[in-house]
Assembly symmetry: C2
DNA sequence: ATTATAGTATACCGATCTGTCTACTTTTTT
DNA sequence: AAAAAAGTAGACAGATCGGTATACTATAAT
C-alpha cells in the first residue's frame, strides 16, 4: 500500500483516460463532462483514475499538455516538407485544411481550437490551465519564426509574415468552426500567397 | 394564478437576469455557471427566473440572442462613419481594437468570442444554441457584404475582401484572447489596408 | 509461490445541480 | 379599495457532481 501517487506516465490506463477525456472535453467542453462519463467511456475504474491523478483538475492539465504535444508533433511534421516561404505557407494551410475537414485522426473530430475553447472556460490569468493554453499558441508562433528564418533574413519582414500567418490560422479555425466554412483554409492560403 | 408563461420581454427583471447571466456565461462559459450563481448576483428570486424562462436552456437561448443584438448594434454603429473601402477597414479594426482592449462597456470584459466559446460547448449541428451562433457569424458576413457593395462593384473582388475581413476579424479575436496580443487589431488593420 | 501492486466494481459521502413548491409581500390593474 | 399579477425567500426533491472507502481480483516481481 504505497499510496505514493506518481504512477508511471507511460501507463496504459493513464493513456486511455487522457485519450477518452480529450475526446469528450474537445466535443463538449470541460465543465460539461463529468468524471463518471469519462470512466464509463474509457472503461476504467474510478479508483484507477484517482491513482493516476489527484483530482479532475490534474487530469485536465494532463489533457491540455497531451493536446499540445499531439498538435505540435502533427503540425511540425506537416511543415517538414517546406523548403521556401511559399511552400511553408502551402504546408501550413494544407494541414489546416486537413484538420478542419476531419482528415487528421490524431486531432479527433474538429470542434474549433481546443485551447481557445479551454481558455474561455478558465479565464483567470493566474490559472495554470489558462497559462498552458497561452503557451501552446506561443509554441505555434515560435514554430513560424523558426521555420521562416532560413528564407526571410530581414527580421521586420519576417515578423510581419509571422503575424499574418497567426491571424489567418486563427481565422481559419474560427471560420471553419462557427461559420461552417470548410473552405476557409483554402481561401486563407490564397490570401497568404498573394501577400508574399 | 395565470401560470401562462410568456411574461413581457421588456420586463425589468428579465433584463436583469439576462444581463448578469451574459456576464457570467461570458466569463466562465455556460456549463460552469449555475442557476443559483446567476440568481445571487442578479438579486432575483428563483421563482421569478422560472416565471420568465421555462428552463436554464431557455435563458441561455435568450442570452445568445441578446448578445447577438448587442454586438450587431455596436458593430453597425462603429461602421457607420465609413465612406470608402479603406475607411471601412479602419472602422472595423478600430472597433475590434476597442473591444479587445476593454473599451466597449456594452460587450463586457473581453474573453474571446462568446459565440465561438458557446458553439464549442454545444457542438451538435441540430442544437438551437449552436445554430444561433452560426447565425451571428453569418450576420457579420452579411454586414461586410452590404457595407462594401457601394465601393466594390465587382462581386468576385468584393467577396475576396469579405473573406479576408472575416478571417482577419476572427484572427484578431483569437490572438487577443489566447495569445494575449492586444495589438492584434492594429496589425490586422495594417495588413488589410495593404491588401486593398 | 508468495507478495506487493494495480486493477475492478460499487457503495457511499457531502456538496451542488436544476427545478418545484409554499407562504408571504409588493406592485399593478381595474 | 379590492383583486390580480409579479415579486421575494427559502425549503425541498431528485439527480448528479467530485472524491473516498471497501472488498475483491488480476497482474507482475522477487
Amino acid at each position: 500500500m504505497s499510496e505514493t501517487l506518481p504512477l508511471p506516465k507511460t501507463s496504459k490506463k493513464r493513456k486511455q483516460l487522457i485519450d477518452h477525456a480529450l475526446r469528450l472535453f474537445g466535443q463538449h467542453g470541460i465543465h460539461a463532462v463529468g468524471i463518471n462519463e469519462i470512466l464509463a467511456t474509457s472503461g476504467v475504474a474510478k479508483k484507477t483514475l484517482y491513482n493516476h491523478f489527484v483530482s479532475k483538475e490534474a487530469l485536465i492539465q494532463a489533457c491540455v499538455l497531451e493536446r499540445d504535444s499531439r498538435f505540435m508533433t502533427w503540425f511540425e511534421q506537416a511543415c517538414d516538407k517546406a523548403d521556401s516561404t511559399a511552400s511553408l505557407i502551402e504546408c501550413v494551410f494544407d494541414a489546416l485544411d486537413n484538420w478542419v475537414n476531419d482528415r487528421v485522426d490524431i486531432l479527433g473530430h474538429f470542434n474549433g481550437c481546443f485551447f481557445v475553447n479551454t481558455a474561455a472556460e478558465y479565464s483567470k490569468q493566474e490559472c495554470v490551465i489558462y497559462q498552458h493554453c497561452i503557451q501552446h499558441k506561443n509554441n505555434i508562433k515560435a514554430l513560424f519564426q523558426l521555420r521562416l528564418t532560413p528564407y526571410i533574413s530581414d527580421e521586420i519582414q519576417r515578423n510581419n509574415l509571422v503575424e499574418l500567418l497567426l491571424l489567418l490560422k486563427e481565422g481559419v479555425i474560427n471560420c471553419a468552426h462557427v461559420m461552417n466554412d470548410k473552405q476557409s483554409a483554402v481561401k486563407a492560403k490564397t490570401l497568404a500567397l498573394a501577400y508574399v
